[in-house]
Homo-oligomer: 341 residues x 2
């Protein structure tokens, strides 16, 4: 199992990337290829006593900036560390890619270089989100702002397979993010997608989910267009931060607060771990022909290590193959025509 890691993606690259790779080699026994400027990688490795001889380094001279037009990964930045990682994956010189660079460039680069699974209309970015009793997968969170109902159905299929194969959830509950539970709620997209899910019967569709019940864990897979999903993702981050600041201010208010904190430290840590994105690794990009994991832009070494583990599982457990089969089957037996109205 060889994981290809973009050495220059994320705020803490390349150091955190190299540290994460080193830890993953030891902990998971995976082989690692790192892409990027080999001189810089060597220098950073030497300075930080990281044994680069355990990894394969593939030189790529440039880095695509986060603010750059994503489509430039195919032109001006065709030789960047991210594009190089995707080319290696497409050529079969590795089993999965981990990258913490520009989300837009990852979606464009992976879709065009690694290519999509046959029949998949769009790749979707699908972070694993915390809920009261575990976690759920949310897709899409921004790769596709405007969606058609068929795309949402495919998101549901892909998310369901991921949660079953990777998170071990039997028959995951798939729900559509909406402003009400009734099937007549929402805009045209939601109403049409509801019908399509209901008639296609390819996943365990439990209907619409109001966002107030998402954190309770009522669904294992939450399907949304990229705009709505991105709003859900970012508001969850913002409220998580607000709450963690509130906890801090409760426990930092004088001696009593600090004493109190000591007494419940393990419970606080448990909750913080649950909310901590570094524990979950990264967000799988669902729908590409080979596994791609988007690590968080601010990933530290631990987050990179966990993203590499996640990439290994993604490649090892046949998620792509299962999606390929399901989409082919869906095409062979399309939903009844009235659902497409």
């Amino acid at each position: 199992m060889r994981i290809i890691v973009d050495g220059f993606g994320g705020d803490n690259s390349p150091l955190a990337v190299l540290q994460g790779c080193e830890a993953a080699i030891i902990e998971y026994g995976v082989d690692i290829t790192v892409t990027g400027d080999q001189e810089i990688l060597k220098k950073v490795a030497d300075e930080n006593k990281i044994d680069l001889s355990k990894m394969k380094v593939v030189h790529s001279p440039t880095v695509i900036p986060v603010c750059e037009d994503p489509s430039k990964i195919m032109t001006d930045y065709a030789d960047c560390s991210m594009a190089t990682a995707f080319k290696l994956l497409a050529a079969g010189e590795g089993d999965a890619v981990v990258c913490a660079g520009s989300t837009g460039a990852i979606v464009v680069g992976a879709s065009l270089i690694v290519k999509r699974i046959k029949g998949i209309k769009r790749a979707a970015l699908a972070p694993i989100m915390p809920s009261e009793n575990g976690c759920y997968i949310l897709l899409d969170v921004g790769a596709n702002l405007e969606c058609r109902p068929e795309m949402l159905l495919q998101f549901g299929v892909m998310g369901s397979i991921y949660m079953e194969k990777i998170m071990g959830i039997k028959s995951p509950k798939v729900a559509l993010a909406n402003i009400g539970e009734e099937e007549t709620k929402g805009g045209e997209l939601q109403i049409a997608a509801y019908k399509l899910f209901k008639s296609s019967k390819v996943v365990n569709f439990t209907g619409n989910i109001e966002p107030r019940y998402i954190p309770r864990g009522d669904a294992d897979v939450v399907v949304a267009d990229g705009f709505t999903g991105n709003i859900i993702l970012k508001l969850t981050e913002g409220l998580g931060k607000m709450f963690s600041n509130a906890l801090k201010s409760i426990f930092m208010s004088g001696l009593k607060g600090k004493l109190s904190a000591l007494m419940v430290m393990s419970a606080i840590k448990g909750f913080k771990n649950k909310m901590d994105y570094t524990e979950y690794g990264g967000a799988p990009l669902m729908g590409t022909a080979k596994p791609v994991i988007k690590a968080h832009g601010s990933s530290n070494a631990k987050a990179f290590k966990n993203a590499i583990r996640q990439a290994r599982d993604f490649a090892e457990r046949g998620v792509v193959e299962e999606i390929t089969n399901s989409i082919a089957q869906l095409k062979a037996t399309p939903p009844t025509s009235d659902a497409n109205e």
Copy 2:
């Protein structure tokens, strides 16, 4: 100052309504009119030792159910407690309405019976939401699922006036909920609305706001189409519940947890109060010709009392007049044409 209260709106009506009215009369010195079945009101008041003689009761025999088609407030339920409240307001027999009934019926009933301010395209429901350093107003949260850019501009104007007049914030920061800060981000609606806000200069427009910065309090007025706003509202509720459950489990874990809780009780209460919707009263319906407050469906007596105070302020401080002037001015000097492209 007379506040008209729908006696039969909300899960805890009519008892919580009457208790809230009684408390408001004592605390704020307002006059109260309650609408609804007078036999039931009298019976509940007697049973709970509430002095109904301090309020004016206007009999209305029916109640529009929450699940009913909202437009029926104009036909089958034209004599319901909610419609009666709006008719009294329209006739000048009170200064504001408080109602905890069906949101849809409130929007339809208020728009058609109380009517909209001249030039206002749509009334918007605008809850006051908690943030780290205070609160912000969010509009719309569901009255208008599909919006045009001009509607979002009007939402911004109305929200800005409310925050200035009622919450005392000078030159409130108005931002557009979006998935990125750049003016090219989002769908067609967001891109066009951004241009319109920028060129019209009627409010202190600070650009797009990503939802991760909403709880931090970066904006005083968050403008969104009704679908997006409703997602933000409900996810905030859901995550608030998740966090409050987490707090409970931290402090209820054994003797240490309970002792710890005692030591920081006042700080916990402070945070809970901040997150507590009953403190803020209800959500103003912005854009109607007279003030209407939508109280939360699960309002208790305290929430009704606070909603009545909010309705008093809404009526007293000339919010409707200021909106009327601003909209007239906006019409007289429309934004430059390139903003309407």
